[in-house]
C-alpha cells in the first residue's frame, strides 16, 4: 500500500491479469482521488470516490473506499500494456476535509508485460 514515508511500491504483472493497489489514510476524508502518471507527464485524475460511496466503477477501473479502516483500493481488470504507469492516491485527510488541498501517497509503479 502507499502512504506517508513509504517507498514507491512496484508491481509487475502479465497482460490480461487483474491487479489491485491499496492506499491508507490517517484521518477523515471527504474524497479519495486516484491519479495516473505516465512517464514524462504530469498526473491525471482517473477516478474518485466520495466518503458516502463504497465502490465506484469506470470502465476497467474499480475504486473502493472503507472509511472504517481508512483505506481505499484501485483495481484494474484485464490489465493492458498501456496501463503501465505510476498510480497515486490522494486525499484531503490532513486538511480537515477542505478539499482544495490534497495529500498524495508515494505511488505504485505498475508494469504490465506482454
Amino acid at each position: 500500500s502507499q502512504w506517508g514515508e513509504e517507498n514507491l511500491q512496484a508491481l509487475s504483472i502479465q497482460e490480461g491479469e487483474d491487479v489491485t493497489m491499496n492506499c491508507s489514510y490517517k484521518t477523515y476524508t471527504t474524497v479519495v482521488h486516484w491519479y495516473r502518471q505516465d512517464s514524462g507527464r504530469g498526473p491525471a485524475l482517473i477516478i474518485l470516490i466520495r466518503s458516502n460511496e463504497r465502490e465506484k466503477r469506470s470502465g476497467r477501473l474499480r475504486a473502493t473506499l472503507d472509511t472504517s479502516s481508512q483505506s481505499s483500493s484501485l483495481s484494474i481488470t484485464a490489465a493492458q500494456c498501456e496501463d503501465t504507469a505510476v498510480y497515486f492516491c490522494a486525499t484531503d485527510a490532513m486538511y480537515g476535509g477542505s478539499g482544495n488541498k490534497l495529500i498524495f501517497g508515494t505511488g505504485t509503479l505498475l508494469s504490465v508485460k506482454p
Binding site: 498526473p43 497515486f88 490534497l102
Partner: protein
Amino acid sequence: EAAVTQSPRNKVTVTGGNVTLSCRQTNSHNYMYWYRQDTGHGLRLIHYSYGAGNLQIGDVPDGYKATRTTQEDFFLLLELASPSQTSLYFCASSDARESSYEQYFGPGTRLTVL
C-alpha cells in the same frame, strides 16, 4: 479540457543560482499549486494560491518563494538554489466550485542544481 503549461521544461543551474519556474493555466481556475516530486516521496506541496496576490504555505516551503501575479500565472522562485532542490516540479490548478476537487497538472519542469 484544463490546460496547464510550464516553462522551462528543463533547467540546470549552479548552487546559489537564481531560478524562476513559470506556470500558466487557461481555465480560470482559482486555485494553483506548486509540487515537487522525488522518488520515494510522491508529490509534496510547496506553495499554493487561491487567487491573484494570494499565497499559502504548503508542506515543504523552505527555500522557495512563490507569487501569483494574475488568475492565470503562478511563479516559483528559488533565490539561492541548493542541490537538495534538484527535483521534478509540477504546477496544478483546480476550481473551488467543482466538488470533485480535481487537480489538473502541467507537464513538469526538471530542475538540476549542480
